[in-house]
Symmetry: D2
Subunit: 214 residues, 4 copies
Amino acid sequence: MAVVLITGFEPFGGESVNPSGQVAQALDGHVIGGARVAGRVLPCAFDDAIGALDAALDELQPSLVLALGQAAGRCEVSFERVAVNLVDARIPDNRGDQPVDEPVLPGAPAALFTSLPVKAMARALREHGIPAGLSLSAGSFVCNALFFALMHRLATRRGVRGGFVHLPLLPEQAARQPGAACLPLQLMVEGVRVATETALAVHADLAVPGGTLA
Amino acid sequence: MAVVLITGFEPFGGESVNPSGQVAQALDGHVIGGARVAGRVLPCAFDDAIGALDAALDELQPSLVLALGQAAGRCEVSFERVAVNLVDARIPDNRGDQPVDEPVLPGAPAALFTSLPVKAMARALREHGIPAGLSLSAGSFVCNALFFALMHRLATRRGVRGGFVHLPLLPEQAARQPGAACLPLQLMVEGVRVATETALAVHADLAVPGGTLA
Amino acid sequence: MAVVLITGFEPFGGESVNPSGQVAQALDGHVIGGARVAGRVLPCAFDDAIGALDAALDELQPSLVLALGQAAGRCEVSFERVAVNLVDARIPDNRGDQPVDEPVLPGAPAALFTSLPVKAMARALREHGIPAGLSLSAGSFVCNALFFALMHRLATRRGVRGGFVHLPLLPEQAARQPGAACLPLQLMVEGVRVATETALAVHADLAVPGGTLA
Amino acid sequence: MAVVLITGFEPFGGESVNPSGQVAQALDGHVIGGARVAGRVLPCAFDDAIGALDAALDELQPSLVLALGQAAGRCEVSFERVAVNLVDARIPDNRGDQPVDEPVLPGAPAALFTSLPVKAMARALREHGIPAGLSLSAGSFVCNALFFALMHRLATRRGVRGGFVHLPLLPEQAARQPGAACLPLQLMVEGVRVATETALAVHADLAVPGGTLA
């Protein structure tokens, strides 16, 4: 049976939970679209996260990878389109490292695009009543670094597709941050399930406008 | 057994659902803090809403009233502090009326304050992991008008307390409005349950700062 | 010659400037619409501000009063519609006082409306290319308290009209607050000049919708 | 005398003005940091803009290029860090073309980084009291396409540096768009002057954190 790897992160930045790690754990072992999900929670540290990703790719040999991360300030499930080969950490990661203006992977391209049908995935979520959209920047912290490393690894694994999905805060996190939007865990689990199903079923993305002016 | 009246509204403004009406219906018949909830869905029209409120007050003789309404653009359960005797409708109501710069009730005071312990209620929700806060304006549409009429009616009903609570959109509504925050129905039902329980138990509000600079 | 009193505030909250005080000073001595402007900078403290307002009203006997204040987070010149008889200070004022849930003036009404033609004023600014709008809450700090005291005093001064205008930050303030909007001093001075001219010329406000849904 | 090319755009999207074109025109002929500014206004159309850029590069042989564009919704002068080889037009350009999910330049890299010292430039503006910051996405419309084409051309012009700067709306534009932030033309002209001066003087950027978490 084909394997879908879904990764999330451990909590960081003073939080005690992280929706991305919880969604990965919730879907671990599920069967979606005929494939078995392996959910993994990665350390929120630059080097450790990429090392853990590499180990999971080798162990699981997935045919599809969805990496998830937390994005405080967003109100919807957000499908990232492009990973940038840039690290510029606004806060230290969970190991205390705070690299500034370094490449994720020296010598690699400046950016790598998702290989997921992100427009079809976002539309599928919205049709299921789940707020969703596209994003042109995954930031410059651990999320973007893992996304970049993922797309770099997949470039040499024929037929394996992957990408990155940012999730809003959980309600219990937003309850401590006035003005912050959130989505409940159950809806994000369902959103990632629908996204996975869509990614498995759709290979050519929708040819509809989805960009931003600036 | 004491009765708590919880009102919500029918859908308006082109929507097919309204979280406030759904929460009122979901709690109808529940027992909270030793009181029985009567949930009612009001028409979203200036005169009809106030008429339906008056009928419910007469029929049910509640000891506590929580009026609920929908507030697109907010991300938390929002406890209103003050109702203003002003109608200025940006869109027509569900009967097609669009009054501009008229009083809700001619001859009544310029404003009426909530009689609920809103700081204790907001804190209780946050302690339950539900995003919540205070608001100094309920707008100038049907929500504010109903809130004003409610506080006007309660001014002559000894010992009956009440107030207004604005709720964010439901996820299925936000899925069609890019950039809009939402909360799931179940969390808002739980939030209004906690709010009701707190209102029944607390009579002197918390003496903590909760205002805004501007 | 008729006198227009325009008040602003001294800096507060750790800032070294306050656009409202600067605009009041910039217009001091100008003649607008046949009236002479007296610009005054008030202390940003609850009791002192109201005392200084009373002294200025007695000394100048103005026929029109525009009170100005700073509103970080707003992007337009904002005409307040209603002052609330509530003080709930999120931070201490410049004298160190931080009242919570007290009336501005004990025994006074719950709220008082502006007596300015705010819709005509906002439209006039926009026609001059200056971002402007209406607001239903002036907060619960010193700005709202002064606004309330002003409308309370004017209620017993026949024919004297007045109201409150919130101004965005200055660019030099926004340069230290990422994400904050601003307007340049010169545009705000021009905006308050146009607002004054309109208030002097227009006595019945425009009958156009200008409210908010929530 | 060395030449600095500063480009802006003509109005688009139903606007009658564009701050970027106005700033480019305002600085045309000025001398900044010992270099002469050539200001050019480009068509807001994918092919025509790149053609006009190429013509200006050939004609002027600049040693520094600042391309400017309009970004409704931003409140500060925004220095772009990375151009993406992706066009996804949400609206038609001024020639009526609306490409979706095409490369800016087929066969070129997925992204190209600015070669300007953007952290030093943003800090210099803030020290001059002008709101400024960094951005990790220039969108997927004509601004990003021109930015990408610029960095592609400069890759083969030794010693020529360049980048892209997004500007907020002008006040007269924001006056017609409730909720939109703006900066006055004069402040944006001064901001681009300071940015140019800094770019000419600084070759190694500041090693300070400037990234975003997501």
